[in-house]
Symmetry: C2
Subunit: 301 residues, 2 copies
DNA sequence: ATTTTTATTGTTATAAAGACAAAAGAAGAG
DNA sequence: CTCTTCTTTTGTCTTTATAACAATAAAAAT
């Protein structure tokens, strides 16, 4: 029995919910699909699908088996693609997902440069703060302020993602510059929304982490909007240093210092990571993009 | 082409380093193996093996492909086994790996009970502090004072693994009971060896982690031996509370208290975890063992 | 009850893999 | 340097398995 073929048929039947449609997808008669799936069931000694002439239902065990089979088929496809494209030129579609702020501020202009170097690589960039599940079918490269959720995912630290509190000089003269974290309660807060919700202002006082957030006057996942509101003197905002650098240099915003320092997470090393699947580093388009981004970002920021 | 068969042949050739031996393993003529591997290479458009009549060498791309194929075949085998054994009685060999101390103190007697409940499950227990790579071929269930390295690995918190400093009453009257961590320098230390080396005595003083270990008079990964030496008054030992409980209750050892407390890691929630692969929870023997251990340990400790 | 859709079964045809024999090629021994 | 030996590959035939096509059976909808 060609087990792999049977698995592909089975997966397609589950996805389409029909033997006929699955058969069409492979351009074979429905009878072939029926027989192969039956063979598979017999080999496994379990009923994967409950068939009636009108509808096909997946059994419980069939469902879990399907999910695993799907993963396996996908992995195999990726491995094959990696071998096939080995020693070929970087080309084809490259899907990149990035945090919005990083994408707008840094990534997009780098990618313009990348496109000139590798015109045959077609970029498909999506900016979102939701972390897409690398390892499924979606993206080749992801840029996130996070961690590596899986041992098959490689994480390269691109740059620091330290959050710093800032405010407009005008705001500070009007409201006073807070000297201690406890004074923040009497200020206005602009909050960065992460996928885990608005990021609070935390401080470690005598071994205890305390939330010292000011009352909120604005929450957004858009750093530029928050920065603009801060420049207009509407409040204090905590955002990544790399996002604020231009405003700080222009004097539009001013960094605030506290002791102990203000944080948005108990985790000490907040950083921007470039994530990709180890096995896909063999694919030329992925390899050159990873190498390019690491070289350009690590060198400049 | 029966791709899966070709992959199995290829993997076997890589492992045995010979077409002839691989063919023997599948009881087919060497010519079949040769043809299937050639088909595979043609389909992938790459040379996986450099053959000469005397030796078979794996190419670079062949090597990485092999590793991925190996994983895939293994996963498929596991998925198939899960389906096949679905709705069967718990039976067969069950491999459990545990930390030595936990194994001796808690696990082994629980497993005696388990064996009475499920006599058809043949236990294969190995006690070791090295963490074996769950997800490869080795163990079904692992018990470790750690984390989950992979998203496919499920981790259940069994119990706290808090390390506490203790010493014999005799030792304390002779040497004095240390009141502050700084006094520990003038004491004798008995150290637990973890896979990462002897575990130091740490303390967080004013936001800074400091090593306040006493000079070592003994290091071992055997908790009972360390406990005995401590009972004999040879020094202070830091070990998991569950390991020391009987000695504390018997009055042979006495807990030491510091402020801030002594730790062996910056990580706050040290715990004992039961680890298993999500997909293998479907296999009856794995399911009943996980459920049994979780129920018995969580209830009692 | 009849029509329609869908899965299954029967049978034949075709393509792929196995079996066996023989050839080609590389390493070591004499 | 030639011969022997071991291993991979090639040639040819046989076997097996899957596709193809037609026909049947079963369930839902009209």
């Amino acid at each position: 029995m060609d087990e792999l073929r049977a698995l592909r048929y089975f997966a397609e039947v589950v996805e389409t919910g029909s033997f006929t449609l699955a058969a069409k997808a492979f351009s074979v008669p429905p009878s072939s699909v029926s027989r192969r799936v039956s063979d598979l069931e017999q080999a496994l000694g379990a009923t994967l699908l409950k068939r009636s002439t009108r509808l096909v239902q997946v059994t419980e065990i069939g469902q879990t088996y399907y999910q695993q089979v799907r993963d396996i088929l996908h992995q195999l496809e990726q491995s094959n693609e990696a071998v096939r494209s080995y020693q070929a030129q970087p080309m084809g579609q490259l899907r990149i997902s990035s945090m919005v702020g990083f994408g707008e501020r840094i990534l997009l202009e780098l990618l313009d440069e990348f496109s000139e170097l590798y015109p045959e690589v077609i970029l498909d960039v999506s900016l979102s703060d939701e972390l897409s599940t690398l390892g499924r079918d979606d993206v080749d490269i992801a840029i996130r302020g996070g961690y590596a959720p899986d041992e098959r995912v490689q994480a390269i630290r691109l740059m620091s993602n330290e959050f710093i509190p800032v405010a407009a000089p005008g705001y500070l003269t009007r409201r006073g510059t807070p000297g201690a974290v406890t004074e923040l309660r009497d200020h206005e807060g602009l909050y960065f929304r992460t996928p885990n919700g608005p990021s609070p202002w935390l401080c470690e006082i005598e071994d205890q982490w305390k939330d010292v957030s000011a009352p909120a006057v604005g929450i957004s996942n858009d750093g530029k909007w928050l920065a603009r509101k801060a420049i207009e003197g509407q409040g204090i905002v905590m955002a990544p240093r790399w996002l604020l650098t231009p405003y700080l240099e222009a004097g539009e915003l001013q960094e605030l210092h506290f002791d102990p320092p203000l944080r948005i997470s108990q985790n000490t090393d907040l950083a921007v990571f470039l994530l990709y699947q180890k096995q896909r580093y063999l694919v030329p388009k992925v390899k050159v993009a990873v190498d390019f981004l690491v070289a350009r970002v690590k060198g400049s920021y």
